[in-house]
Symmetry: C2
Subunit: 317 residues, 2 copies
């Protein structure tokens, strides 16, 4: 089968053997897979990654011990947990210290004709949800994770800093939740996507709003985003860190202490609330797909995805 | 009257006029005042400070519109809030944007023969509490603040990183609260102070405990404390930042995001729970006073307070 290989910053497409299916796992034919900023970070050397990336996908189950999965369209949770430790017992397999992670940590990713995942990681995609919406389940789950971590009552003034993919999804999810969301970004045409749901778009100028929001979501994808977010939040407010940036950030800690700011690191989330939002069709996802390319064109797809102004690039099989 | 003046890193004692007493304020004769790390940071240029420091004190009310205060021993909350804004309405005058702060922001401090504070800031010191215990009310309040911000059920595994004054008080307060506290520091003799209450002292070696605690209190007073604390905390755990360090810290944000760590900036706290603990006599405060000097010897007292191994230095009037 065809599969993408990432090594020392280079993307190549190779012909490799179809993966074996361990007991309890499904073999899944990839239908569509999205290139995420994490994939671009992996390309830059985050985690010292070398191998097959891809963790946002929709597929069709080709083989499985679970008969009712075969032939069905699925999305899959990306953390492969041990199911034995205290974390797993608490339903937090996403933090299992022995976990592998699809396309990120020691489990070959979805940028290939076939992939494998444990049956328990799979969620059926409702029939009327198109592939190009379902492929957003993983990042929408990451956006929903904010609501699992931080109490955001209806009417809370929330800023989303950044208008990339995760920023746009988070702004939409929080607006639908009932928050009053202001999204601060650099691209008028991107901001329009969440504005369609009632979010207030604001072009990021030289002066950031100062101490104006109860909650600020940092989704800039850049190392200086944290300092900017910390300026925007009110005393006793919360900054949610969504960007996984390779390297260190310079942080002034004294204002965090004096203003008693809370910073919350936030990563992936549960799939169930994400699939529910996608099924309801309330998210504005269509304008978020910039391009769709064949798996064989992965090299060009990665180049596209890294280009300024580009949102989601899908690989198709 | 005699008063301490701080300017460009220099401590001097000057003869200045006794302060005027605005309506609603008490004139307080200082009995004892503690030199805090914040005072040493002010000396180093934190906040661009220039003026009269001192915010931990016990005094005797000399003049007041409130008759029942006159002649009584008091401690005083250090934030002078406007009492009109939304913060003040929420009982969070400590974050009032118009506030001045005793000995820190535009209100002359307690390192003087006399100081003034609004009557509403004052708390009576119970008769049997000695001055050298009551003078710890402000920093004990800062330690108690952690419990106002973070839910710490009994039995929670908490690490306190740092064995300075605030670290020792926080370790004691959390242990009395029912947490299982490990204090990691560099001074055997300091660690013994909280060990007397059942805290487990641990000398900080080359290898820090990794991902072992639900809650880590960063009280090192140094810029690299945050990175160390972030290593010690479990995924989904909480790091409480207590050090107000001048300047910036280098922080790797990716592990915070991946492990969904929460950082909570924590500053001063309410006096009531602090006074209660002090009145109950359960805190081990006597060994925390390293030296007591006359106000006129403030220059030497600041030198002492900045010396390695020294805990609280008191100025006496």
């Amino acid at each position: 089968m065809l599969a993408v290989h990432l090594e020392s910053g280079r993307v190549s497409v190779r012909r490799v053997p179809k993966p074996g299916r361990p007991p309890g796992y499904s073999l899944i034919r990839m239908l569509a897979a999205g290139i995420c900023n994490t994939d671009l970070e992996l390309q830059r050397g985050y985690y010292g990654f070398r191998g097959r990336p891809g963790h946002e996908f929709v597929g069709e189950v080709a083989e499985s011990d679970t008969a009712e999965l075969v032939g069905r369209r699925v999305v899959g949770e990306i953390n492969l947990a041990c199911e034995c430790c205290a974390w797993c017992a608490r339903g937090l397999g996403r933090h299992c210290p022995k976990r592998t992670v699809l396309g990120i940590v020691r489990h070959p990713g979805a940028f290939a004709e076939f992939l494998t995942l444990p049956d328990r990681n799979l969620h059926l995609v409702p029939d009327r949800v198109p592939v190009q919406h379902a492929v957003f389940t993983e990042p929408v789950g990451a956006a929903c994770e904010v609501l699992d971590q931080v109490k955001i009552p209806r009417g809370t003034e929330v800023a989303v800093l950044g208008d990339g993919k995760l920023g746009l999804l988070t702004a939409q999810v929080l607006q639908l939740h009932g928050a009053r969301v202001v999204q601060v970004g650099r691209h008028r045409e991107k901001l329009r996507i969440a504005e369609a749901l009632g979010v207030t778009g604001q072009i990021r100028g030289a002066r950031l709003p100062t101490a104006e929001f109860d909650v600020v979501i940092e989704a800039t994808g850049s190392a200086d985003g944290l300092a900017a977010a910390a300026k925007m939040v009110r005393p006793r407010g919360t900054v949610v860190l969504k960007s996984t940036v390779h390297g260190t950030a310079q942080v002034e800690t004294a204002p965090l202490v004096v203003n008693e700011i809370t910073l919350v690191g936030s990563r992936c989330g549960r799939f169930a609330p994400a699939l529910k939002l996608i099924r309801q069709g309330k998210l504005n996802l269509d304008p978020m797909v910039t391009d769709e390319l064949a798996l064989s064109e992965a090299e060009r797809a990665f180049e596209d995805a890294g280009r300024k102004g580009v949102l989601k690039v899908l690989l198709r099989n």
